[in-house]
Amino acid sequence: MRFKATLDDTGLRTFLATAQCFSKVCDECALHMSKESFQFRKVADAESDAMLFATLGMDAFTSYDIASKADSTISVLIKVGNLLRAFKSAEQSDKVVFKLTKRQGVPCFSIIAETLSGLSVTQDAPISTFLTVEGLYAYREPNLRKPDISLYSPDPKHVRMVLERMKLLDKFVTLTLTCKGTMQLQVATEIAVMRTKFQGLDSPVEGSGVGKASARLNVTEFIRAMQFGVVSEYDKVIFCIVSKEAMIIYVTFEDDMGTLTYYLPCPWEDDGV
């Protein structure tokens, strides 16, 4: 098997941002590389039920070469921290090469970058395990029905700020989206009820669908998911609710380089407000 790709500075930024988003929600994630895309995958684990999937298309790379017996796909488990560290050292470079190698018998990703001063630096990120097709199956995106409501998110910065305040009041927040283009976050305790409504939001989907939908979410998980706003240059952000199943945050990176999808499960009954 072989894998070798190069990234220019914009591709590198996107790659780094993606790795950072993952580092905020997990220690280890799956990487699935194919001829069409480079994917990061995180599924529910002991610490959190949230799932995160990122897909970088060929536009993110200046060159890309992959070959394997498994239909030219390679899947691995890797500690995100290692990958992040390796790529961070290349942050200032114009060009980064990363490829699958073996160092002293240990398979790893080698990240080779040229520093501003002209030095060539190689960092290795060891791979935890290779995943078989069966192994990869555990890291698949959930199969959900079509969302009840989808809206373009308000400024993620504002959403995060509101959530941070609400976190001080209670562990859970109720998110409600309406087809009239409003998004409401509400937290309620014995002492106070706090409700913030964002209005005038557009919908990416034509047609009315259901009037509104609500999801009861863990505030901390929600805030962690919204961290993408801090680390990446995003283009569009869409919030969706699949009632009683999950809330989805769908982010597209700029220049069509890729997408990020968060799934925050919300199985509880919710009457909405």
Binding site: M161, R165, M166, L168, T176, V193, M194, T196, D271
Partner: protein, 398 residues
């Protein structure tokens, strides 16, 4: 203006008002309320404030659990675009101040573009906030507690350094020359019957020393003292002679002393009658200085009992003024050992002294009656601690 009762439809997303609110107020910018309230906040989850509303404005009062310090935040009703208070003209309730600040600050600390509507409904016993910034609307309903003739906060005494308060018989602190104990006992007794009125108690004794200081300088001084580990008390010196105004504290490993020398443009209108040095619990003094980062000027006063009064003037970028006052009772005990410069036995009447006359002496004060923008009016009646009236408009007139 009566409104229709809601039909109890739980699917409604809008709150339906069931009866006319006892109070409605609108502020073009929530910034002034947010900043002023931060000046009395101690950051603790369970901090409650008594909110008192009357025609003059609103006042939030917090009393420290030790009953040795009280903070008041005042906003004049003139700052509000809408001020609508029904009933007998005054309203009073207790609310969790920390939750209130969390609600106000929901969209961040910059609230100049955030419009705020406040209301209070008797039947719901909730203090409601409605904040609008652009297309984002936040509504909060905070449950209030009834506060009529009850003390602010539980009447808990910290037995370690205010022991004299508990035991009338166990008077082991020797002669207390400033009547602190008497003050505290009366406050405590008053506290059981009504809200302890530190303002009134402060005025009940002559103000001996006063000066106006730049808040920024005082903040620096507090910061210096705050960094001293192990300093439980801070000594405040106010004198007609050098060093005029000094703050000092002894920590575990080091001590620190900050002087504000006369002639420095940092303070003006100093009028000190008598050389006084008193100590205060460092934690309470830091609380009293919470508003310093937001304030322009601070009026510092010490009365005959050694109680310290700090009145901070907070001014927003658009000129809107509000006030935060703090009264801190001095620690029982003799502080003269901290007073190195004082020459015992000499009569101190030098320097900038004026004939002391509470009613007549003029001088700079932060809120003169002529200034119609402020929240204080000239007092029209003696403040009575047992009165439940809101907003004791007690400004210090000299």
């Amino acid at each position: 203006m009566a409104q229709q009762r809601s039909s109890g439809n739980t699917q409604q997303s809008e709150q339906t008002v069931r009866s006319a609110p006892a109070f409605r107020g609108t502020l073009g910018s929530a910034q002034v309320l947010y900043t002023t309230l931060r000046g009395i906040s101690n950051g603790k989850k369970d901090q409650h404030a008594t909110c008192e509303l009357d025609a003059q404005g609103l006042q939030f009062v917090v009393t420290d659990k030790s009953l040795a310090a009280q903070g008041l935040a005042n906003l004049s009703s003139k700052l509000f675009e809408v001020w609508d208070l029904c009933g007998n003209g005054s309203l009073r309730f207790r609310v969790n101040l920390t939750v209130l600040l969390q609600c106000l600050g929901i969209l961040g600390k910059e609230l100049t573009d955030t419009m705020l509507k406040l209301s209070y409904h008797d039947d719901e016993e909730c203090f409601n906030l409605h904040l609008v910034e652009g297309r984002v609307v936040t509504e909060c309903k905070i449950r209030t507690l009834f506060d009529e003739l009850r003390a602010d906060g539980p009447v808990e005494i910290d037995n370690d350094d205010h022991a004299s308060m508990d035991d009338d018989d166990n008077d082991d602190d020797g002669d207390n020359d400033d009547g602190d104990d008497a003050v505290r006992r009366s406050l405590r007794a008053g506290a059981r019957g009504a809200r302890a009125d530190f303002q009134a108690d402060f005025r009940s004794a002559a103000t001996v020393n006063r000066m106006v200081v730049k808040s920024a300088q005082l903040r620096d001084a507090f910061a210096e003292l705050g960094e001293l580990t192990g300093a439980a008390t801070v000594a405040v010196l106010m004198s007609p002679k050098k060093p005029f105004f000094r703050l000092s504290a002894d920590g575990q490993l080091a001590s620190c002393s900050v002087d504000f020398p006369q002639g420095d443009e940092s303070f003006s209108s100093m009028k000190c009658e008598e050389h006084m040095v008193r100590t205060y619990r460092a934690s309470l003094l830091q609380l009293a200085g919470r508003a310093l980062p937001f304030a322009d000027k601070t009026f510092v006063r010490m009365n005959k009992h050694g109680t310290l009064g700090l009145q901070h003037l907070i001014q927003q970028s658009d000129g809107v003024k509000s006030y935060v006052e703090f009264y801190v009772l001095s620690d029982a005990g003799d502080a003269s050992h901290l007073d190195q410069d004082h020459d015992n036995g000499e009569d101190e009447h030098g320097g900038l002294t004026h004939p002391y006359d509470d009613a007549n002496s003029a001088g700079e004060q932060l809120a003169s009656p002529a200034d119609s923008d402020h929240g204080f009016e000239a007092p029209t009646e003696a403040a009575d601690p047992s009165q439940a009236s809101a907003f004791s408009s007690t400004h210090s007139i000299y």
